[in-house]
Symmetry: C2
Subunit: 243 residues, 2 copies
DNA sequence: ATTATCTATAGATCTATAGATAATGC
DNA sequence: ATTATCTATAGATCTATAGATAATGC
C-alpha cells in the first residue's frame, strides 16, 4: 500500500479524508459540462501520477480516488475495473505527450539522417526530462513480460520507435552512422536518454545532484547527447573503441 | 498480487500448495546444518527473485515462502518483517555480485584511465546482462525517493560508483576524457549499460530480439561500449557533436 | 428518467502472531 | 531445552458491487 501523503498535496477535510473538492451530486447541467474539468479527467490525471510513481500492483483504486478528491467507488463507476483505468490512463498520457513532443514530423524530412536523429534525440531527452511519467511506467511494466507490456508495445511503442529506427537505418545507409544493429542503437539511445531522468532520485542520493533544477537538467541533456553521438573520449579512439 | 506461477517452476503437491520441498520439522542435526541449504538461504533466493521481478510492494510474504517451498509464516520466523527480508535479500545479492563481478581491483591500477574505464564498463555491462536482479531492484526503488532508496544508496551505491567516478575524474585530468560533469558521465554509463538489459522484454516486444541469447547479449554489449566510448557517428563530428 | 455521487459492505487477500507439533541437544 | 516447522487466525487492507441520495433533463 501507498499512502496518499506521497503523491499530492491537499487540505485535509473531515476526519477521514483528504478532499480538495466536494463533488456536486447529480446530473451536471449542460453549461457546466463543457466548462468544468470532469471527474473522469481528474481521475485520469491522478491515475497517471499514481501508476507512474508506484506501478500497477502497488496502486489502489482508493488512492487514485482520494488524490482526485472523490470516493473510491467513483473509479469503478467511470472505469469499471482497475485494469481499465490503467489503460485509459496510458492512452491519455500518450495523447498528451504526442501533442507536446511530436516525434514524426514532416518538417525534418529534408535534413540529413544525422541532423534528423539529433533533433529526435534532443526532443526525446527533453520529453524524458520534463515528464518522467512515461519512463516510469515503462520501468514498471517493461521489466517483466506480461499482457500490459504487450498492449503498450503494440499500441504505442512500435510506432514511437519507428522514427528512430528509420533514421538510424538511413544514417547507416549514407555511411554517417556506424553499422551497428538498429535495435541496439535505438534502445541504447532510449535507455541513456530516458532512464537517467527517471532514476533522478538515485542521482540525488548518490551524487547529491538535483535533476529537477533547469540548469542540471540541461547540463545532463547536453552530456547525454554529446556522449551518444560523439563518445566520451576527448580524442576519438583511432582503432575503433572498446574492442 | 502476483501468483506463484510467474516465478519459479514447481511440482504441485496436495491441493493447496506448490511445494517442491517438504521441510523436516524440528531442530536440525549438527551434521545436517553444514551440508543442507538452509531455509533461510532458500527464502533469500526466492526473495531476491520476487523483489527483482515485482518490487517491494507487489511482493507478498506468501509468494516468497511458496517459491521456497515453505509456509508463509516461515518468512516471519526467520526475518520478523517483510521489510527485513527485503534488506537481507539486498545484502545477499550485493555479496553475490561483489564476488562474481569485482569492480575495484588493484590489478587495474597500472592501466591508463581510459583502459581502466573500459574494463570497468565491460564488467558492469556483463554483470547487468548476466544478472538483471540488481538493475531491476534499482528501477523499482530508484524512481521514487524513500527510505529503501536511501538505505541502498548509502550502504552500496556510493561505494559501487566510486571506481567509475574516480576513473572518469582521472581521465578528464589526463585530457583523455571529455570534460563533462562526472555524475553525468557515470549515470549515463549506468543507464545505457544496465537499463537496456533490464528492459529486455521491451526489446523483445518492440523489435522481436531475444536478449537472453548469448549472441545478442554480446552484440548489444559491444554496441553499447562502442557508442559510449566512441559515439554512434561513423566519422566523429568535427565541430563537437550535438550542440 | 438519467446521471453522478456517496456510504456500506461482501469476499478476497496480506502481514504478523499465537500456539501446536516434531525433531535434536545436553 | 532448543530449534524449526506447520496450521489457524486476528486485524487490516483492497476490489468491486449494491443501494441510497441528489441534482438536472425532458
Amino acid at each position: 500500500m501507498v499512502t496518499a501523503e506521497d503523491t499530492l498535496k491537499k487540505t485535509p477535510n473531515r476526519k477521514t479524508g483528504n478532499r480538495t473538492r466536494w463533488a456536486r451530486r447529480g446530473r451536471p447541467s449542460l453549461t457546466e459540462t463543457a466548462s468544468r474539468e470532469s471527474s473522469r479527467e481528474l481521475l485520469l490525471k491522478s491515475a497517471i501520477n499514481a501508476f507512474a510513481k508506484h506501478g500497477f500492483e502497488a496502486v489502489t483504486t482508493g488512492l487514485i480516488a482520494e488524490n482526485a478528491g472523490m470516493s473510491q467507488s467513483m473509479v469503478h463507476y467511470h472505469f469499471k475495473t482497475k485494469e481499465q483505468i490503467w489503460r485509459a490512463a496510458i492512452e491519455q498520457l500518450m495523447r498528451d505527450l504526442g501533442e507536446r513532443f511530436p516525434l514524426a514530423k514532416d518538417e525534418l524530412k529534408d535534413l540529413d539522417p544525422v541532423s534528423r536523429l539529433k533533433v529526435l534525440v534532443r526532443r526525446f531527452v527533453k520529453m524524458s526530462a520534463l515528464d518522467v511519467s512515461l519512463s516510469r511506467i515503462m520501468v514498471h511494466e517493461g521489466t517483466t513480460p506480461g499482457p500490459r507490456l504487450t498492449w503498450i508495445a503494440d499500441k504505442f511503442l512500435k510506432q514511437g520507435f519507428e522514427p528512430f529506427d528509420e533514421t538510424v537505418t538511413a544514417g547507416i545507409a549514407t555511411g554517417q552512422i556506424k553499422d551497428l544493429p538498429v535495435y541496439a542503437v535505438t534502445h541504447t539511445i532510449i535507455s541513456a536518454a530516458a532512464m537517467t531522468y527517471c532514476l533522478a532520485p538515485v542521482v540525488e542520493a548518490t551524487h547529491g545532484v538535483d535533476l529537477s533544477a533547469a540548469r542540471t537538467m540541461d547540463e545532463l541533456a547536453d552530456s547525454v547527447l554529446n556522449i551518444l553521438f560523439d563518445g566520451l573520449l576527448a580524442r576519438p579512439d583511432p582503432d575503433g573503441a572498446a574492442r
